[in-house]
């Protein structure tokens, strides 16, 4: 019995070591300059902190990789989240979007933040500074709404 346990243990450990050698296509941080939402608009401090802490690791080309981002299989997840997150919303490419896409995203942002589907729960589990309380969520929603109104003018 003990033998089996040890055998399974070694096999799992070996698998864990081996998957470290599978190439992982981690998206890079190359951004087009001057297009980041922070360079284009004035975002109130109470909002900008949270966008940076709670969204930028998936929705920008200014990603800070956490320690686990270099360990498979977590690294695969991080890469996937960045790839899919950027596809939906890339704050670093904000200036290259049409007005209509910006408006749509601002509505999406307030909805995702209101419904608490963003930031992804798996991310806030690992990042305490990305957990938003209801006041902080409100601030983001108010900002998104007033920014959208301002864009319409």
């Amino acid at each position: 019995m003990k033998k089996i346990f040890r055998f399974v243990g070694i096999a799992l450990l070996l698998a864990f070591v081996l998957i470290q050698f599978i190439p992982n296509d981690m998206p890079g941080n190359e951004a087009v300059k001057g297009m980041d939402i922070f360079e284009i608009s004035d975002i109130p401090e109470e909002v900008s902190v949270h966008l940076k802490n709670a969204c930028y690791d998936c929705h920008s080309h200014a990603v800070n990789h956490p320690w686990y981002a270099s360990i498979a299989p977590a690294s695969w997840l991080v890469a996937k989240d960045i790839r899919e997150g950027r596809k939906e919303l890339d704050f670093s490419a904000w200036g290259s979007l049409s007005l209509r896409d910006q408006l749509k995203l601002l509505v999406d942002i307030s909805e995702e933040v209101h419904e608490e589907t963003m930031p992804l729960p798996i991310y806030t589990f690992m990042h305490a500074d990305a957990r938003l309380n209801s006041e902080q969520r409100e601030a983001i929603i108010r900002w998104a709404e007033s920014y959208a109104e301002a864009l319409l003018e």
Binding site: L13, L77, A148
Partner: protein, 131 residues
Amino acid sequence: MMLSMISLTAFAFLLFSAFQADVQSEKTMSVAEATFEIPEDIQNILDKSCFGCHNVDATSDKAKKKLLIDQMHELSKIKLVAALGDIRETVENGDMPPQKFLDKFPDKALTAEEAEKLKDWAGKAADDLLK
């Protein structure tokens, strides 16, 4: 023993990472404004493939929360632009109608031509609102 502990931890880590469920969003809409009319040819496409799930009397709360085609004229300009953007995006990605539904009712699928028309309309209608 130590070895087993380490590998069990690694295994748990692996499972935890592998079983990350897809998180889905829900949307709410509000506020009246503007005159918005859907042209007849577009309405016909929507009626065939979309309306059944996305109207106030539909049975799926999930679908209703995301889009009410018969209430679009009630939306604020911003929400309307966003709704048109959502339509465009889902049609472009081939996400709507849902595959499960199409398995049962294959004739409700959008033809390539209908999809193209719907996308063009959604884009243009949004641009018109912003003129």
